[in-house]
C-alpha cells in the first residue's frame, strides 16, 4: 500500500455527498474541514451544538469575538441568516431528527454500525460532549477517518473494543482508502483508491468487506 488520501481529501470526498440546503453538524477537529469543500452551487447550513446555525468561516486572527464560537471553542463569524438559540433547542435540533447529516471522527467503527470515538479507556479523563446525542439524531451519520490507526491497526472492525459512543448508528464511512456503507450489519465497499486491490484493502480492514455492486474509483483532487 503506497498511497492514501490526506485528511483534506477525505473531507473533500465527504463534502460531495452533502446536498444543497442540507443542515449539517461537523464534529470537532478534522470533520470541521468538510465545510471548506462544498461543491460549487451548493450551500449547506452548518449547526454547532453550542447554539449557532448558519455561521460563517473563521475570522482572521485578531478579529475573534469570543462570544461567537463553535463547539470546538474556535472563533466563527456571522453571515446573513445566522441564528442563535439555547442548548435545549440546539439538542432538540439534534435528537429531534432535524439535521440531515452529522459527520464525526472515529477511533473504531464496527460492521454493526457501532461507533467508538469518545474514550480511549480508563486512564483518560473521559469527555463526551455532544457525540452521543449526534449519533442518534441526524438522519445520516457518517464517519471520516484514516483507514487504520497510527500503529497500522484496522479502525474498521467486527466489534469495537473501546467504549461505545452509539450502537448501530453509522451508515457511511469515508476513509483514507475507501468509501464504505454499513447495511444490515455488513461493510459494503462502494469506492476505493484505483491503485488498490480489494485483497489489499481487506488486509487492513478488521471485518469482511462485501461487494454488492461495481466498486467505484475513489478519486479526489489535490486540495
Amino acid at each position: 500500500m503506497t498511497d492514501k488520501l490526506t485528511n483534506a481529501q477525505i473531507a473533500w470526498r465527504a463534502a460531495q455527498d452533502i446536498a444543497d440546503g442540507a443542515y449539517v453538524n461537523l464534529g470537532i477537529g478534522f470533520p470541521e474541514m468538510v465545510a471548506r469543500f462544498q461543491p460549487p452551487g451548493r450551500q449547506a447550513v452548518f449547526h454547532t451544538e453550542n447554539g449557532v446555525l448558519g455561521f460563517g468561516e473563521a475570522p482572521t486572527a485578531g478579529d475573534e469575538d469570543w462570544d461567537l464560537i463553535n463547539a470546538g471553542k474556535k472563533a466563527i463569524t456571522l453571515k446573513p441568516g445566522t441564528a442563535f438559540f439555547h442548548h435545549a433547542d440546539s439538542f432538540a435540533m439534534v435528537r429531534g431528527g432535524h439535521l440531515d447529516v452529522a459527520i464525526l471522527g472515529a477511533y473504531e467503527v464496527a460492521e454493526t454500525g457501532d461507533l467508538a470515538n469518545w474514550s480511549t479507556g480508563p486512564k483518560d479523563v473521559p469527555a463526551v460532549g455532544g457525540a452521543m446525542d449526534l449519533v442518534h439524531g441526524a438522519k445520516r451519520v457518517a464517519v471520516i477517518t484514516d483507514h487504520v490507526t497510527r500503529k497500522g491497526q484496522p479502525k474498521l472492525v467486527e466489534r469495537c473494543t473501546l467504549p461505545l459512543t452509539g450502537v448501530g448508528c453509522v451508515t457511511r464511512i469515508y476513509t483514507s482508502l475507501a468509501v464504505i456503507d454499513i447495511e444490515a450489519g455488513r461493510f459494503i465497499l462502494r469506492e476505493m483508491l484505483p491503485a488498490l486491490s480489494i485483497d489489499a484493502l481487506q488486509n487492513v480492514t478488521g471485518a469482511k468487506l462485501h461487494v454488492t455492486d461495481p466498486v467505484g474509483d475513489l478519486i479526489c483532487p489535490e486540495v
Binding site: E49, N50, G51, V52, E64, D65, W66, D67, L68, I69, K73, L78, F84, F85, H86, H87, A88, S90, F91, V94, R95, D114, S119, V125, P126, A127, V128, G129, G130, A131, M132, D133, H136, G137, P163, L164, T165, G166, V167
Partner: protein, 240 residues
C-alpha cells in the same frame, strides 16, 4: 420590585458549603467570570463556600473562572459533558488525585436534564447513550421499537449566569453564542444571580427580544466591562 444588587460580594454571599451551583457558559463564551471570582474571593477570606457541586458544560480552562475554583479546592464534584480544554490542568490534576468527583453527561442530556429541572419534569427518556457505559444503571424502555434511557432532572441551589442586558425585573438578553445553557439554568436553580453588561429600566428591552423572562431571575448585578475567559487565558491570567 427591583432585583438589582449593589455588589458582587452581595451577589455570592448566600451560597453555602456543599451547595449545587449551575454556572453558565460554554468554554469562555457566557462564563460569568466576575461572579466566579467574587465567590473565590469569599472563599479565600472566609473558607466558604467549599464542597460545591458545580454544573457546567466543561471543567474550566487555565487558571481563571471555574478552573480557579477547582484549583482552590472549592469544588467536590463536577457535573459536565467535556472536562477537557486547551489547559485542563486544574481539573485533571485533582481528578487524577481522586480529589474531585466527575459525573459525565452527554451534552444534550445535560441540557435537557437542566431544562427538565426548570420545567418540573423529574425524568425523561432520551436515545442518547443507549448501549454505552454512560447508560449503565439507568432504566431503559422501548418506545415504538427503539430503546431510550431514562434520565433525571437536574436542579441547583444557585445559578450564576452572565447576560447582556438585564432590567430591574430580571428580564434578560444574551450576546450571540454566550446564551448556551444560561436560559435553562435560570429556570432550574432555587436562586438565580446574573451579572449583566448593562442594567436597564423596565421597558428598555423590547418584550419581543426578552430571552429569559424575569420570573426566572432573582438578582442582577451590573458588570459593565466583563472579562472574557479566552482573553484572560491568552494573557496568562490567574485568579487570585
Amino acid at each position: 420590585m427591583d432585583k438589582r444588587l449593589a455588589s458582587l460580594a452581595e451577589a455570592v454571599a448566600g451560597i453555602p458549603d456543599g451547595a449545587t451551583v449551575m454556572i453558565g457558559g460554554f468554554g469562555g463564551s457566557g462564563a460569568p467570570i466576575e461572579l466566579i471570582h467574587a465567590l473565590i474571593d469569599r472563599f479565600l477570606e472566609t473558607g466558604s463556600p467549599k464542597g460545591l457541586t458545580v454544573i457546567n458544560n466543561n471543567a474550566g480552562n487555565g487558571r481563571v473562572g471555574i478552573a480557579a475554583m477547582i484549583e482552590q479546592g472549592m469544588v467536590a464534584k463536577m457535573i459536565c459533558s467535556f472536562p477537557r480544554s486547551a489547559d485542563p490542568r486544574a481539573f485533571t490534576e485533582r481528578y487524577q488525585a481522586g480529589e474531585i468527583a466527575l459525573e459525565l453527561v452527554p451534552q444534550g442530556t445535560l441540557a435537557e436534564r437542566i431544562r427538565a429541572g426548570g420545567a418540573g419534569i423529574p425524568a425523561f427518556f432520551t436515545p442518547s447513550s443507549v448501549g454505552t457505559d454512560l447508560a449503565i444503571g439507568k432504566p431503559v424502555q422501548t418506545f415504538e421499537g427503539r430503546d431510550y434511557v431514562m434520565e433525571r432532572w437536574l436542579k441547583a441551589d444557585y445559578a450564576l449566569l452572565k447576560a447582556e442586558l438585564g432590567d430591574h425585573l430580571g428580564n434578560l438578553t444574551y450576546r450571540m453564542a454566550a446564551r448556551n445553557f444560561s436560559p435553562l439554568m435560570a429556570s432550574a436553580a432555587a436562586r438565580t444571580v446574573v451579572q449583566v453588561r448593562r442594567a436597564v429600566e423596565p421597558g428598555e428591552i423590547d418584550p419581543e427580544h426578552v430571552i429569559t423572562p424575569g420570573l426566572f431571575v432573582d438578582a442582577i448585578i451590573e458588570v459593565a466591562n466583563p472579562a472574557q475567559e479566552e482573553e484572560l487565558n491568552r494573557a496568562g491570567a490567574c485568579h487570585p
